[in-house]
Amino acid sequence: MTGLVLLIPIALGMGLLGLVAFLWSMRAGQYDDMEGAAHRILIDEAGPGEDAP
């Protein structure tokens, strides 16, 4: 029984952490442009090569 006093808050805390992380990522707009995020990795930051549109 004494173990529960420790374990239940830990379980709940971890669940809450996950929920907060999810809500934060949504508010931060991480799901706004899934397609663009996939393409951005291909952008050559300092590249002088100008791709045609």
């Binding site: 239940i8 709940l12 706004d32 442009d33 393409h39 791709d51 549109p53």
Partner: protein
């Protein structure tokens, strides 16, 4: 452009403007827009969103939308300001549902953790503690995640109707209150887990449905977006001032700059130019205009500046007229009842009656109100349409995903349902059966001429130049080095190649056929353009017929070319139809009991697209047509149209199977619940299993969209 003197370090705060950029397709486009736009004076930063095809620009307030659009155009992207965002409410709705889903998921997992311990034999004080903890988690979760259902149920009850959300809300609220009572009195059974789990699965269905609505519609701009928002009015003293479109009046004299969209209908009084009328007609070739020509709002001036006298403004323009016709024609479609709603109309009263009967029956049998209420709640929860709520959206999301991979964007689930019900296909000619863009015939040109033609054509945005450049690029032509290329609006392109004057010019005999003359030094060659049929038009029409949709042609073009294409494809045809006639033809078909599928691209097809039982537009269609259509297909093939019908039908088969399964499951579970045999454990397992079966069945659709037969 005489940019105002900007003082970036000044106190003026930056403002953010959003523009829709439909042409943005790849990493290169994002990089180019974000990198180059930020170099424009007055623009601090630009951020592209590829999914929504939007660019958010934070800039000095001194720059207006026109200047931003011009900066984007200089990079080679057409854009439209996002004035009012018709999708904003959808987006907010979607976000709310996703948040509620996250909260419900959190609650479900933690309560389940506690419930499993209770089921495995926790007793006494431990059970009491676990029930109290469950209550502490469940109450806020139910209050937050249940809101979409409570709100909808309340609306239905207020209008003295019932919908799927009424039994859901009653079940969830009753179960929560009952569990709270059990917890307070130290009872053995609490239903918190069932209540929250029910919310989670139902929210999953709703969120899928919303996801589908927002995702595929993103790239499609708003109607009238391209109609000029303002115009330069020339005053009596010769000075020009910008006047908003709604404040224009007939009789005003307006200056239309090159590249500007017309804001009202009028008559040209000075200047010669070519207008891109594709917004109105879907026709690709620009229309030459001269003093006396009537011009319409929405057209874009591709040539020299024009002066025009306004005749019709704001609500009286031809464009607004068509928009109104589309609006009216679309009314009939809004009365369409989704299959899930039809099912729930039958289902909800049955559930209510059963639960009430269970309560009254057990009370009459002397079970006591507490036991009777527990059984009634078990009936409500077990019959709550968990699997049913998922049955339709799960299948439709999988089907639309499969279609999306094959180049067809379906706007929402009701479109899939209506597509499956069509029994007749009506096709437009230009831009639908044909490609709608002029294709150059460069077979007669030698390699050197080709490379010069490409060098000239690629500098221009004229449709013929684009067609020529595309044809050359397909043949792998490398452009020659041509210097000081100039474009003279309405007459052509000229430049210098190795000291020789080269040019693409208008042919001397202005005949019906589209053509251009390539001049190198003094030699002239004519390049002819054609608008060919889509390569798989015949195969797609055969595939449509195989699905039980015989096709016919309904075109606004002259009768002779329509008849030629109709004969080539062996279809009945009607030519020379204006928007009203097309609408009338569709209405006549519907009056005969048909459910027509309309495929068309021009704004002249708009009312017909809106009136048809279901409609599809090619990605090259005018904005308004894409807006009116249920689905948009991309690329040169017509086969996605036939594929859409096939997948829609497969989807409805799966939906019916899902419904069949849900009903069979309920038929099995309800007697158990009525006799009081269902414990919370059984309810939880039954609910998850039925939902998983429905999702698994829907996933079969992912493989059910075979590629177009070669």
């Amino acid at each position: 452009m005489n940019a105002p003197v900007l003082n970036l370090a000044a106190e003026s705060p930056l403002v953010t403007t959003r523009l829709t950029v439909p042409g943005m397709k790849c990493a290169g486009c994002i990089g180019k827009i974000e990198r180059e736009l930020a170099k424009t004076p007055g623009i601090a930063a630009a951020r592209a969103n590829l999914s929504a095809k939007r660019v958010a620009i934070s800039h000095d307030p001194a720059l207006d939308e026109g200047a931003l659009a011009a900066a984007l155009l200089a990079l080679g992207f057409e854009s439209q300001p996002v004035t009012d965002n018709p999708l904003a409410s959808d987006d907010a709705d979607h976000q709310r549902l996703t948040r509620a889903l996250g909260v419900a998921g959190f609650g479900m997992m933690n309560i389940m953790l506690l419930s499993v311990s209770v089921w495995s034999g926790a007793e006494g004080a431990t059970r009491g503690l676990f029930h109290w903890l469950s209550a502490a988690i469940a109450l806020p979760v139910v209050a937050y995640a249940g809101r979409p259902f409570f709100a909808s149920a309340w609306m239905a009850l207020k209008h003295r109707r019932t919908n799927m959300d009424v039994p859901i809300s009653i079940g969830v609220i009753l179960a929560t209150c009952m569990s709270l009572y059990e917890t307070i009195t130290g009872g053995a059974h609490a239903f918190f887990d069932s209540a929250v789990m029910l919310l989670f699965f139902l929210l999953a269905g709703r969120a899928l449905d919303a996801e589908m609505r927002t995702r595929t519609r993103a790239g499609i701009g708003a109607l009238l977006g391209r109609m000029g928002k303002s115009a330069s009015v020339i005053g009596p003293d010769g000075a020009t001032r910008r006047v908003a479109a709604k404040d224009l009046a007939p009789g005003m004299l307006v200056l239309v700059a090159a590249g500007e969209a017309l804001a009202a209908d009028g008559e040209v009084v000075e200047g010669r130019a070519a207008l891109d009328n594709s917004m109105l007609t879907g026709e690709s070739a620009p229309e030459p205009v001269a003093p006396g020509s009537l011009v319409h709002a929405g057209a874009i001036n591709m040539g020299a500046p024009l002066k025009m006298r306004l005749t019709h403004v704001a609500e009286d323009t031809a464009l607004a007229e068509i928009a109104r016709a589309m609006d009216e024609a679309g009314q009939s479609r809004s009365t369409y009842v989704r299959i899930a709603d039809r099912a729930s109309r039958l289902y909800a009263p049955v559930v209510h009656t059963l639960a009430l009967m269970a309560f009254a029956g057990w009370l009459a049998a002397g079970a006591g109100w507490h036991a009777s209420l527990t059984i009634a709640i078990a009936v409500l929860i077990i019959t709550c349409p968990c699997a049913m709520g998922l049955a339709v959206p799960a299948a439709q999301v999988v089907a639309s995903g499969a279609l999306m991979r094959r180049g067809l964007l379906v706007k929402d689930g009701s479109a899939l349902e209506r597509l499956a019900e069509c029994d007749l296909a009506v096709l437009d000619k230009t831009g639908t059966l044909t490609l709608g863009t002029p294709r150059a015939d460069i077979a007669s040109l030698d390699p050197q001429a080709r490379s010069i033609a490409l060098a000239l054509a690629q500098t221009s945005r004229h449709p013929l130049s684009r067609g020529l450049a595309a044809a050359c690029l397909r043949e792998g032509v490398i452009p020659a080095v041509v210097e000081d290329i100039r474009e003279a609006g309405g007459s052509g392109l000229a430049g210098r190649w190795q000291g020789l004057g080269v040019a693409l010019e208008k042919p001397e005999d202005a005949s019906d056929t589209l053509a251009t003359t390539l001049r190198i030094g003094e030699t002239r060659q004519v390049i002819a353009f054609a608008d060919p049929l889509r390569p798989d038009a015949a195969a797609a029409i055969a595939a449509l017929a195989a699905e039980g949709l015989p096709a016919r042609i309904l075109s606004g073009d002259r009768a002779a070319p329509v008849a030629a294409i109709a004969a080539a494809l062996g279809l009945p045809a009607q030519g020379g139809a204006d928007p009203r006639a097309k609408l009338a033809a569709l209405e006549a078909l519907k009056a005969d009991g048909h459910r027509p599928l309309m495929v068309g691209d021009g704004l002249n097809d708009g009312p017909a697209l809106a009136a048809a039982h279901a409609s599809i537009a090619p990605g090259t269609a005018s904005d308004a047509s894409q807006q009116a259509a249920d689905a948009v297909f991309i690329g040169e093939a017509l086969m996605p149209v036939a594929l859409a019908v096939r997948v829609a039908k497969a989807c409805m088969r799966i939906v019916r199977q899902n419904f069949g399964f849900s009903i069979a499951y309920n038929a099995l579970a309800v007697p158990l619940a009525l006799t009081g045999q269902v414990t919370p454990l059984v309810a939880a397992i039954a609910m998850s299993v039925s939902s998983l079966v429905v999702i698994a069945n829907s996933l079969r659709l992912a493989g059910a969209a075979p590629g177009a037969p070669k």
